[in-house]
Symmetry: C2
DNA sequence: CATATGCTCAATAGATTACTTGATCAAGGC
DNA sequence: GCCTTGATCAAGTAATCTATTGAGCATATG
């Protein structure tokens, strides 16, 4: 049954192989690290910025990054006193997207959590990437990136303009009064676009939400502007 | 910044969402459970069969299955005194494939482990799915499924014939003497096709290996025969 | 009804993980 | 050289996870 070149038993070989792949799944087996991966999918971040974003202490964030780095999911680069982390491979985003797709299909709790935060009454309309690309071509809509400015600069959907959600209320005048706004942010579970729609609605503007974020858009091979490498 | 329908803070919302997705990654964060998923990707199994396959005790296997079931990655069906487990969704295979692809790109240790088992001297040739489909059309090769008979019956590549690796030595006469044999089994880390090639070589036959297994073939949308649903 | 089989459950010990705190380190500014 | 900032490291505690053991449950059979 076993072949001649073996220096391991078949069992030991399998153990070793699955052990290696489990390094990856173990690295992802934490809500905090999943969130870190999700944020890094937008572009690189310093440890301090990540820590604030995910609501963890600096030391704890640093240690989570260390375990992600040991599993080769992220890489670091030092710049003065700052250390910038980034995803080590675009395939990391693919794994996260696959997990997300599975959760959406299998875990009803996720839908309930989203509904609990948004309140069923909100009923914000969302559009698919296909819809959007057709409507963009027809010039019907304004595409609005509501993420922080730095993320817009690190890469954004082709044709999008930037107004971070925190500045949206005071910068409404920049948007043509009659156009429908399509707002997007980091991804399907990012709340910035929801918040942006609420602001638009409160000021009598029409707005819809793009359900996907930049990483999903990029993964689908759609046009991106201004990105630098891995986003 | 926060919108009016909220009954959770943005932070609590994110925590809840990532916590849910982490149920999936935690369920996969074990070499044993990864192997269980890999085996179930071939088709459903009883607890006892799985336990023997993965080299774990019955009780331990049952508990691993329980945690996979709680994360909605597998489902069970009772048949007499047997309980058959199967993957709850084809997307589970996609997650596993994404993890595998990432590991192959990032973890040099995996390549070394494979080389240590196979011995560098073996140098078995492998073909891609595209190669195979072209050569099959030209009638140059015999496609051989070397997995156990039950797995062949649960679904196999279109046009494949079945000789389980354990019976290959005594059933060599069934193969046309001059044809090149393309052997496949469960996937890239399954050793049955390697063992089959060693047997063929020892009897002076020409054989190559298909690097992918049935689940990968199916995921690529290529033709499968005799499968029943989720494989 | 008694028994066997296939599986699940509960209890446990040992290992691993998560987060905190405080010390330390590396690079840059004064 | 000293101080500040951003990040890492080490130690400690609480919580969680893994595999084992043995008991218990469901289904089928004699």
């Amino acid at each position: 049954m076993s072949h001649d070149g073996a220096t391991l038993t078949a069992r030991a070989f399998k153990d070793a192989v699955y052990e290696q792949f489990a390094r990856i799944t173990k690295a992802l087996a934490s809500p905090v690290r999943l969130e870190i991966v999700d944020v890094l999918a937008q572009g690189e971040r310093t440890v301090d910025a990540l820590a604030r974003e995910v609501g963890q202490s600096l030391a704890n964030t640093s240690q989570h990054l260390r375990s992600l780095k040991e599993a080769r999911l992220v890489e670091a680069r030092r710049d003065g006193t700052f250390v910038h982390y980034r995803l080590a491979d675009p395939q990391v985003i693919e794994v996260w997207r696959a997990v997300r797709a599975l959760g959406e299909r299998q875990l009803a709790e996720i839908e309930r959590t989203v509904a609990a935060y948004l309140g069923d009454a909100d009923g914000f309309e969302s559009v698919t990437a296909d819809d959007l690309q057709r409507r963009l071509a027809e010039g019907e809509v304004v595409l609005l990136d509501v993420r922080p400015d730095a993320e817009y600069r690190a890469g954004h959907l082709a044709g999008a303009r930037s107004i971070p959600v925190g500045e949206l209320a005071e910068r409404l005048a920049e948007l043509p009064p009659d156009a429908t706004v399509v707002a997007y942010c980091r991804g399907p579970y990012c709340v910035m676009s929801y918040d942006a729609l609420a602001i638009l609605r409160d000021h009598g503007r029409r707005g819809v939400r793009l359900a996907e974020g930049l990483p999903d858009w990029r993964a689908a091979g759609r046009p991106v502007q201004g990105g630098h490498g891995l986003g």
